[in-house]
Amino acid sequence: MKPLLLYNNIEFDLKQPSPWNEKDMLTDLDLDTLFKSMAGKDDVVYEVVKKTISTAMQNDAGTIFHRQEILKDCIANANSLHALYDITVAGLETRKTGWLGVFSRHPSGVVFDSIHTIENFVNILRELRSVADENSSKFNSEGFKRFFGMLQDELTDDYLAEIKEHLNMLQFKDGTLISYNLGKENKGINPQLHAYHAARKNWFQRLFGPKPKFYTFYIHPRDESGARALSDLKNKGINLVADALGKSVDHILHFFIQLQTELAFYIGCLNLYEQLQTMQAVYCFPEAMPSHHRKHSFTNLYDVCLALKMHQKIIGNEMNADDKNLVIITGANQGGKSTFLRSVGVAQLMMQSGMFVPAAFFYANICSALITHFKREEDVEMKSGKLDEELNRMNIIAEHISPNSLLLFNESFAATNELEGSEIAGQVVRALTEKKLKVFFVTHMYAFAQHFYSSAVNHTLFLRAERKEDTSRTFKLIEAKPLETSFGIDVYNKVFVSAGKKY
């Protein structure tokens, strides 16, 4: 019994390790804003979307497609998905009431708690199957068709009745029947509990004739130590059964936990979908291309985190970087370069998680890793100089690069004079691109950008933050060659001169 809603062949592991650079990636791309919007107040959804998105780069095309199809079903049947999720959560609630409480140190305690818990489970399982019965025709994805089919096949009425039968037997209303071998000191060993129903008792007679070989004795009602000894024997006798029951409870619980985990991803997607709808922001299901291709094209791609923060749709960008493996972005300060870079990163992660992306149209080749190298605030602990710190981060990155990685640089290596910075950046980028990695580089360093422009490398795309004559920003990037100034004076003027005029 596996939900298999995130992968079509294995269960999603919420405890799997995160990529080594998760923290940097989350900070640089402001992903927490996305996670929080997807999760709302549900901590489980938060954990799940955080893990699914930060591990998205490991997914192959099959997984991406598997999830896209399921997500489309979820968007079409949002109410049913919420119902499934709520039932599953209710199943897990039973865990909080009673399972493994005070009595559980002894086998009889484990058995008692198990009976109680499994009784609740039977009801939850029956509800899950009803959802499957009602919805199986409305869902089209392979993932959901398999999942509902599994619930219907496995959780039949007969099966649920079989469980009830066990729960009944485990009350031991007719006594306990335990078999032994003789061990050391002639004490009974290898106790084994057997099903026993008084109604079937006469098989003894059949077997051993009218006078069966029984040896019977009674514990005296006031013999307390005798009663204790008897209950000890019972505890030892049901030890294996307690173990089997306890494990079964854990396994069923795990099924609910797993189901909740896998559904939580889609709940998160639905939450995001609803917010985009409210903002009237566009979305689309992207096409994930094979990783050895260099494909990257989109229209109206926007930074979804920025939109979520501003509660409104924002201006997107378009780009066609097919057959390119280097995109150098130059241009005006506050012209939307960093926002653009972030939107590229977030879209790649969302696509590879199997989600829709915040764009009107989007395709890209699958990348094996997403690595960000953004300039940082000064190192508060004064442990290292800024350039030293940046180069050290680059050093760590170099240890982790895999083929077909996507690297996003934001004003990297600029913590020195432009000439030196350009030289370092140039060397880094040249090496990366020659290794066929995909690099996006936002920079002010004219010498660096110009070098790549003048060497007329075919696989390079140059984007520039646009500036209109009246110095206002459009926040749109255009395909254009690097310019020698970044119009910092505009910003300076805006802040110092126009602010001054106000007063």
């Binding site: 002639n186 099903a195 130590s225 173990d243």
Partner: protein, 510 residues
């Protein structure tokens, strides 16, 4: 033929009176620490008397050395350890006279104990069959064991034991309890209910580490279990009658000689286990050549076992030392800087000789040692207030005592005696004592600060604790044979303790 009849003891080819009192020199020489560490966790074998009783002739020493050499083969050692484990289990299994037992309980305990005994004997005999044994001790023990195992007594014991155990273990019975009613009935092939549960929930199954098996302490049999056992006996009367007959028949099942072997072989095993830890640190052991006529003793790369054992635990290096005596040389005078290994050297000399006469391997690459008759030690001690005597007087009384008892075949070890008097007195007294020792022609190690003894006669040899040539403050713990050269040591020690002129001026601030 007569070997097998003669086998008595793996320790002594002929009978020897055991000493139960710790020899007087054990504390001075750290031999007490060595023996305590050797027999640690082997208390039940009562091995101390074996370590307190030195051998008196060279043949006995060789008898043990041969056995020890055999046992240094890991395979044989493991065979012996396995056997010891069996016999230990037998002792644990046997019913205790003080305890109360229910019907059929004590009988079963004896049966299980005998089963272990038979298995232990059989496996040892099987294991020794093809073992490459060279020592007379082991060869004659093997003969003995073979004749025991084929004796009618033993073959009968083992077959009765196995038959009865088979019958008992074939019994499966069921207990049906309902409220306070308990019924013992034959088992009727019912299936294990835990399997039925597992089958039902199979579809949810996954790998997991967690289990819900409760652990129960092994409590003594209670009256309910006893009543159930009675019920089982009633279902299978013939088998339980056999058990009672068996119990009556085999009260004394153990062979005295083999039991004695089980104890005595631990003398070797315990010592081998003890030195194996020291060997792992790269230190060497050897079988000494022991003679009761030749006083040209020598040892290469020897060390104080007790100290080595301690240093190895602390991961610190152990310094080894050499010595030799040639021709008329008898007396080693050890002098030099304090904390330089002088006392350790004296202890080592004593340990080497004592362990050699126990027939044990000793520290070092090679050793020729003297088979002494008596070992006397006198190490500086705290004043003995009980006797109301001065320390000097105490020293002299002790020395007088053992000079009276010592013969030319004795060994005398003295460490920093006569320190509680003036140098002039000490020199005078030392010379007097030296004359006595000299005339006794006894082997002697004397740790002293009195230079005048160094070249007392042709019998004396000077050995010095040494320091690093280029840094006199670093002690090497090496004690080497060379004439004393006086002053450098004192200065280096002064520097080490920062009591030179410059150091004191610097330290003392006014």
């Amino acid at each position: 033929m007569n070997i097998q009849n003669n086998f008595e003891s793996i320790l002594f080819p002929s009978r020897l009176e055991l000493t139960t009192e710790e020899p007087s020199f054990f504390v001075d020489t750290n031999l007490n620490q060595i023996v305590d560490a050797v027999i640690y966790l082997k208390e039940e074998y009562d091995l101390k008397p074996f370590f307190f009783t030195p051998l008196i002739d060279a043949e006995e020493i060789i008898y043990r050395q041969q056995i020890m050499k055999d046992l240094e083969h890991v395979q044989l050692l493991n065979f012996i350890k396995t056997f010891a484990d069996y016999m230990y289990a037998v002792r644990r299994e046997l019913p205790n006279a003080k305890d109360h037992y229910y019907e059929y309980q004590k009988e079963r305990l004896i049966l299980d104990a005998i089963n272990l005994y038979c298995d232990g004997i059989a496996s040892l005999s099987e294991n020794l069959k093809n073992a490459e044994l060279l020592s007379n001790g082991f060869l004659s023990f093997r003969e003995y064991l073979n004749s025991y195992i084929s004796s009618e007594n033993f073959t009968c014991l083992i077959s009765e034991t196995k038959n009865l155990l088979n019958e008992l273990s074939s019994i499966t019975y069921s207990v049906l309890t309902n409220d306070l009613k308990v019924q013992v009935i034959p088992y009727n092939d019912e299936t294990d209910y835990s399997e039925e549960i597992e089958n039902t929930f199979e579809k949810f199954k996954r790998a997991s580490d967690k289990n819900y098996i409760s652990k129960f302490s092994n409590e003594p049999m209670n009256h309910v279990e006893a009543a159930i056992l009675k019920g089982v006996a009633a279902l299978y009367p013939e088998i339980f009658q056999s058990l009672c007959d068996y119990f009556a028949k085999w009260q004394n099942f153990r062979d005295e000689t083999i039991m004695k072997f089980d104890r005595e072989i631990q003398f070797y095993v315990s010592y081998l286990e003890y030195i194996s830890k020291i060997k792992q640190a790269g230190l060497l052991f050897c079988y000494p050549e022991v003679s009761n006529t030749n006083k040209e003793v020598c040892n290469e790369e020897g060390f104080d076992l007790a100290l080595a054992n301690k240093l190895i635990k602390q991961n610190e290096p152990v310094v080894c030392n050499n010595f030799f005596l040639r021709g008329k040389e008898r007396i080693i005078i050890v002098s030099g800087p304090n904390q330089g290994g002088k006392t350790t050297f004296a202890r080592m000399f004593a340990q080497l000789h004592y362990l050699a006469v126990l027939g044990l391997p000793v520290s070092g690459k090679k050793a020729k040692l003297f088979l002494f008759n008596k070992l006397f030690t006198h190490f500086e001690k705290e004043e003995n207030l009980k006797h109301m005597r001065s320390k000097l007087e105490d020293d002299l009384i002790r020395i007088h005592d053992f000079l009276q008892q010592a013969t030319s075949n004795s060994i005398i070890i003295m460490n920093e005696i006569l320190s509680s008097t003036t140098l002039q007195d000490a020199v005078f007294l030392s010379k007097k004592i030296m004359q006595k020792i000299d005339s006794l022609d006894v082997l002697c190690v004397w740790v002293t600060f009195i230079d005048q003894l160094l070249s007392f006669s042709e019998k004396t040899v000077s050995m010095l604790s040494t320091v690093m040539p280029d840094n006199p403050a670093v002690r090497t713990f090496k004690v080497e044979r060379k004439p004393a050269d006086g002053l450098a040591y004192a200065l280096s020690i002064a520097e080490k303790y920062r009591v030179t002129y410059e150091a004191l001026k610097e330290r003392i601030q006014v």
